[in-house]
Amino acid sequence: MNPEALEKLFREADNVKLDKEKKDAIHQELLKFIEKHPVQPKRKSWRNWYSSYFGNITGLKTPTFALSGILLFLLIGGVITVDAQFGFIQNSIAEGVAAVKTVAKNTSVIVSSPALSYNSAVKKYQDRRIQFSVNPMTQYCSVTPPNSVFKKGIAIMLDNRNDKQIAVKLDGRSYFIKPYGFKVITLTTSATLPHTIKIDCHGGKNNASILLQP
């Protein structure tokens, strides 16, 4: 056989067809199957739901814009919570690997915020850092500096120098900081300034304080 005639030979394969009877038999089987299995109504995905409810509100795509705004707020600004007991508002931002995991339980959005390494955080918050160190013998938590003064709205670093997770409370609001981890929080309050924020550490009371000034 001439190899060049190969493609021509393949055309002979066009003669291979289903027998008409068999073709009809399969067709009948299919019709029965179609009858038994009609098309199910399409499930609405969240995208369909979104467009059906919001798609026609405005041509400016306001819902998309609003959602983006909320996400951006959560990424940059963190979550504002109100402490009913003290009327104290803390705007917390989680940074650093250790801190992110702690906060991520409630606000998963924060997980995607850029992680700050410990060294970078120390450098960035060198004069706004509060260290917590627990004596392994006495379990007493030393806070350095014990008394500090910050302006309202400033971000400070809570630095855990222990090999175990510690719980720190600022005006009653708890922060769990992982071993050798840190957390950055922004201090703000609705209370009249100056306001003293009491810090409890590792089960202790009034281990330190922050004087918040206007």
Partner: protein, 176 residues
Amino acid sequence: MSDVTSNTQQEQDFKNAYQQYVDAIYRHCYFRVYNKDLAEDLTQETFIKTWKYIAEGKEIKNIKAFLYRVAVNLIIDNSRKKIALVLDEVKEKEVSVRLHSMESTMIDSFEIKEIIQTLDELPDKYREVIVMRYINQLSPPEIADILGISTNAVSVKINYAMKKLREIIKIKYHES
């Protein structure tokens, strides 16, 4: 468009697709498994599986490519079930017996027997693209879509397979 109208349309499109592609799918299956009955079963299964997919409310953009994809997968599944092993044992017998059981145009078709015997010497992955390209006359982009590989990869496979085929034919006919 209401759901009912849409469903009827889908059903009609599928029936049209059956009439349009049933022979091509059968041909593809036949030249992969060399067994008339098995090729018929695989063809039927291909269309049933496709309808199941449609019935689940899923969208098919290219029904032709989808049918081939389902057929290709069924053939792979089938060969995994070791049915091919059984066929290997009776292949020689199968070819002659099956060919004579086909349509009148096929009876005594020396060419078809030649195609089968020649293709049979190719590794399966090359036979697959050759069948698609030269027997089913699918374009390389269509084959790429079915196999989930790039058009370049398809072209490379086809070129290699053709080279192999020519070598096989050369050896076969020089020897005889």
